[in-house]
Symmetry: C2
DNA sequence: TTCGGTATTGATATGTTATAACATATCTAC
DNA sequence: GTAGATATGTTATAACATATCAATACCGAA
């Protein structure tokens, strides 16, 4: 996948590759990528945007499964805790990780307020700066959430 | 107030000073710090931690006001949109700004997962790095949310 | 192989956070 | 003092998330 999430990309390939990566990592780490978990990951990858838990439930129900809230939340917990997906706090929604090879990491997200597109990016030096600043204050960082809200390139052009 | 939020400080003075700042800024900018908005800001300042909207409603109800959800959310929207308070996405909660002189700004928060303490900090170069990285990708940042979760100094010592 | 523990799923109920919608009151400028 | 804008009161409901407990599937050890 391209470095720049805003560009077009080979979507089918990106889905297949992400699934393969998840399966490989689960096998390597003794995790169980069960049918439910895999299906939820597939849904996130297909949509390629942030989905609420109830959006996922709706998809599952449309497929004939009588899916109740815990079904989605359990699968999402698994995917998030192992780095296959991320929670977007700002949207109360979830998105497939675009860098699943890296395992648990500290991503940053750009969220378009117009089209709700979400792009993930690494944040090399910024991350270090924040964590070390916290460390100086005696605070031990374990997880981080960095979310930038604004206008994506497409929406900037559409409504300048 | 001290630079380091984890330290003790003059709480009464901090409340009075923050309220005075808010009143001065509202006067200067033609904003209306109505009784409800002021009361909600006072509650946030008194607690000096992140409060959910329904925590605030409970306080208001205890004071005899029959407060319904929109009462809290409207006051919080006002306070947040003008930089007198911040929303902590991770906690679905709100906290008084400790740097209200600066108007709208881009804060970062450290959230203790053990005691729920929230400390606000600026983030000089990290902020610039993130925003400029986004700009390079064509994304125009309008707001940001940076939240670090971990253990505060006190909780690190208590359970090492 | 079967036993027993652990992890996962199924199902119901409920808790928590946030907003829609519309009526009324208050302020401000003209 | 009236009009327009802003703020508040009130009811209802949408949207997001978890607790609980029973049933089943998986998996390693005896």
């Amino acid at each position: 996948m391209s470095q720049n999430q805003f560009h077009d990309h080979d979507h089918q390939g990106c889905i297949a590759s992400a699934l393969a990566t998840a399966e490989a990592r689960c096998a390597a780490e003794g995790l169980r990528l069960t049918a439910q978990r895999k299906r939820v990951l597939e849904i996130l990858l297909e949509e390629h945007r942030a989905l609420g838990a109830y959006d996922i439930l709706a998809r599952l129900s449309a497929e004939g499964q009588n899916a109740q809230p815990p079904v989605a939340y359990r699968a999402l917990d698994f995917l998030v805790s192992h780095g296959f997906a991320h929670r977007i706090e700002r949207l109360n929604a979830y998105i497939a990780c675009t860098l699943p090879n890296e395992g648990a990491h500290m991503p940053a997200f750009m969220i378009c307020r117009n089209c709700d597109m979400v792009a993930e990016t690494g944040r090399p030096e910024a991350e270090l700066g924040l964590v070390s600043e916290a460390k100086n204050l005696g605070f031990a960082v374990e997880r981080s959430s960095v979310e930038l809200e604004g206008l994506c390139p497409a929406c900037r052009e559409a409504r300048p």
